[in-house]
């Protein structure tokens, strides 16, 4: 056992757990599980927000962002995204346009050995095939970026699919979002963002990961499946994007 493992073991042995409750020996059959504590909180939350909703500035604040998985969508007026709060001397990075400057180009075979989650790729449209370019990035977590190029413009992406497994305290912020709507992929909540916007990933201290700053020119569908956050960048319609998302195998 190496020093880190020994330290983990030592730490674990001294972990001060709360006392284990006595769980019901005979669970009562009920059609759905409803934790009472959570219901009380939910009622409190509901009343709290109903009260807040009546106040216009608060209503605007509450809708300031929405979140699916690791992606948070900010409904701000067009301003530059916030740079790091503690280092004002750092310049605002130049956003990446397109995929030319994406780091971590690799192959599907290689990336499969690095990922902790299975690779799911779209099977629709039927002529899509395997991605033309694959990128793997580990700066913010495990991020697989699959790119399909346009047949008539081989340097331009037809589709870009992000599959991301990020720690809980890493967030992808989408700024200057002009239009979005709630939708569903496989019956689960998803977001559809229309038009140009900025994408930047932040850590828990709100410090940006500069390499991740991108200008998104097309529409984006964001959804979560089995703890993986997916982003699909496309110029297609929402209906087509959902069909692509639901075809992942």
């Amino acid at each position: 056992m190496d020093p880190l493992e020994k330290e983990l073991q030592q730490m674990a042995e001294t972990f001060d757990y709360p006392p284990t409750p006595r769980f019901a020996s005979q669970p009562q059959p009920r059609p759905t599980f409803v934790p009472v504590r959570a219901l009380v909180w939910a009622l409190a939350v509901g009343l709290f927000f109903i009260g807040l909703w009546a106040i216009p500035p608060v209503r605007a604040g509450i809708l300031q962002f929405l979140q699916i998985g690791s992606i948070r969508i900010f409904f701000t007026t067009p301003t530059p995204p916030p740079s790091t709060l503690n280092s004002p001397s750092l310049p605002t990075p130049t956003p990446l346009y397109g995929i030319d400057n994406l780091a971590g180009q690799t192959t599907l075979a290689d990336v499969q050995t690095k990922l902790d989650f299975p690779i799911h790729l779209p099977t629709y449209p039927t002529d899509l095939g395997l991605p033309d370019k694959v990128f793997y990035q580990e700066t913010i977590g495990s991020v697989l970026i699959s790119v399909w190029l346009a047949d008539d413009q081989p340097t331009q992406p037809r589709l870009i699919l992000y599959a991301m497994q990020l720690p809980d305290d890493i967030l992808g912020g989408k700024f200057n979002v002009q239009s979005s709507q709630l939708t569903q992929v496989n019956g689960e909540d998803a977001f559809w963002i229309v038009g140009k916007h900025l994408l930047q990933f932040y850590d828990a201290q709100q410090k940006p990961f500069y390499q991740s700053y991108r200008f998104i020119a097309g529409n984006v569908l964001v959804w979560e499946s089995e703890a993986i956050t997916y982003r699909l960048e496309t110029s297609l319609s929402l209906e087509e994007a959902i069909q692509i998302a639901e075809s992942l195998r």
Binding site: L4, L8, M11, A12, S25, R30, A38, D116, P167
Partner: protein
């Protein structure tokens, strides 16, 4: 009683009998199973959710689901990993959805869940453990879970594989990657731990 002392790769014959009887609505047999595994289940849920109330609810929900699925349980498999898998899935779901909103609510009402646990160690070691704990939480959730199973609950590799539903070879490689990543995190974000 140390949680890990039940770690075994063999099927416990007594336990198989309890499971069989519990399937036939023998409440005493079910009580024996719950009593035997509740501490491990609660501790695992607590490590994932970092809140005692949430962990308690997750285990209770997990036990209800397990009880409802007993008749489908394969008696040739060990019971503990099967139960833990149910509890892990419940805890993950709570962490992803409800947990986030409830964390926000609790913060609004000034009842922030304790994010930093305590350790039964001298002060200087306590601080070091707190920092290592923060480093662990920079890992993806799946890596954190492997570390909890291996080092906090002393699960064998076979039990870990059955709990998270992956082949035993993948457990080894994934745990190896988790530790590598943890070393990178310590190197870049918590250099004080290198001393």
């Amino acid at each position: 009683m140390k949680v890990g002392q039940w770690a075994t790769t063999e099927i416990d014959r007594d336990e198989s009998l309890w499971v069989e009887r519990a399937c036939q609505d023998d409440s005493h047999a079910w009580e024996q199973l719950v009593a035997r595994h509740q501490e491990a289940a609660f501790r695992l849920a607590y490590l994932i959710l970092r809140d005692a109330d949430e962990a308690s609810d997750a285990v209770q929900e997990g036990l209800i689901r397990a009880y409802g699925s007993l008749k489908r349980f394969d008696l040739t498999r060990p019971f503990r990993p099967w139960l833990m898998r149910i509890v892990v899935n419940v805890a993950r779901n709570r962490r992803r959805s409800w947990g986030r909103y409830m964390g926000m609510v609790k913060r609004l009402f000034g009842q922030m869940p304790a994010l930093s646990p305590t350790f039964l160690t001298p002060h200087d070691q306590q601080e070091r453990n707190q920092i290592l704990w923060q480093a662990i939480h920079k890992l993806p959730a799946t890596h954190q879970e492997l570390i909890y199973l291996r080092y906090f609950l002393n699960f064998s590799e076979l039990e870990m594989a059955e709990t998270v539903g992956i082949p035993i070879g993948t457990v080894k490689s994934r745990l190896h990657r988790a530790l590598d990543r943890l070393r990178q995190i310590i190197e870049t974000q918590f250099p004080e731990l290198k001393s």
